[in-house]
């Protein structure tokens, strides 16, 4: 990764991503947490572009920001009386401590390992990706699509209100 531009981009993105992920942790208002989450997603998308995967970056924005974040917002709206509280549970302290421990371990592993790295970024276009998905990885691809369908149907069935179920039963 050469040049000042990418380096600068990395540090900016890292700061953006991590700070907003921290924001998710500390913000008490659930809505604010979602906004931080979105910024964090955008930062990760920037990382993807930086890692020469622009298509995936765009997909990240479309799916995470355009779909998942909106879904989360919807879910918050649909659960009004549960409050917008994003407070901590009694597991908070051990959870955070454990996260720190895991972080330490991971950082140790990362720095301890001698990574062999290639200098040149592989040139992967969206066409290559599509080719791979539909030839080598076709079975996982199909399974993923089946999974999506199942999730779709499952979610619809889950959120049906009793009246709608009654209506369906009548038909």
């Amino acid at each position: 990764m050469h040049g000042a531009g990418p380096n600068l981009a990395f540090w900016v993105l890292a700061a953006l991503t991590l700070v907003s992920a921290g924001g998710v942790m500390v913000s008490r208002n659930l809505l604010h947490a979602v906004l931080f989450l979105i910024v964090s997603f955008l930062g990760v998308a920037g990382f993807f572009i930086l890692l020469s995967a622009p298509f995936l970056g765009m997909a990240q924005i479309i799916i995470y920001v355009g779909a998942i974040a909106v879904l989360v917002l919807f879910a918050i709206l649909l659960t009004p009386r549960a409050g917008r509280d994003n407070g901590e549970t009694r597991w908070a302290a051990p959870g955070v401590l454990l996260s720190i421990a895991l972080m330490a371990v991971l950082l140790f592993v990362i720095t301890d390992t001698k990574w062999t790295t290639a200098k040149d970024a592989p040139e992967i276009t969206a066409a290559d990706l599509g080719q791979a998905l539909l030839s080598t990885w076709v079975l996982p691809f199909e399974i993923a699509s089946v999974l999506l369908t199942a999730a779709l149907i499952g979610s619809i069935m889950l959120v049906r209100s009793p009246e709608e179920e009654a209506e369906d039963a009548l038909q």
């Binding site: 992920a21 990382f47 993807f48 895991l102 991971l106």
Partner: protein, 104 residues
């Protein structure tokens, strides 16, 4: 200082641990879900970093995995949020502290 694989891995690790902390500590089920999404993102980042920096014959594999992870994340989010909404319908709360029917 040139940014290399380690830097990306560190960011990924930090993001993962933040996500883990969120997932373990938040009371609101939707908050927990957000933590899980963060963790998934961190994993994606790590996968892509390896794909970008490691010298392997299967260059596309990393990106393919990311595609699958994104797909699964979308499915997971949809189902989880549907669950949260239907739990809310039944119990008027999504507080995971109170969702312990398993407990006798």
């Amino acid at each position: 200082m040139t940014v290399g694989l380690e830097h990306f891995l560190v960011v990924g690790a930090l993001l993962f641990c933040l996500g883990l902390a969120v997932a373990l500590s938040k009371r609101n089920a939707i908050g927990v879900l957000m933590g899980i999404e963060l963790m998934l993102n961190a994993v994606n980042l790590t996968l892509l970093s390896f794909s970008r920096f490691q010298d392997t014959p299967h260059k596309v594999a990393g990106q393919t995995f990311v595609v699958f992870v994104i797909t699964v994340a979308a499915a997971e989010a949809a189902v989880a949020l549907a669950l949260a909404v239907s739990v809310y319908r039944n119990r008027q709360t999504v507080d995971v502290d109170q969702l312990n029917l398993l407990k006798s």
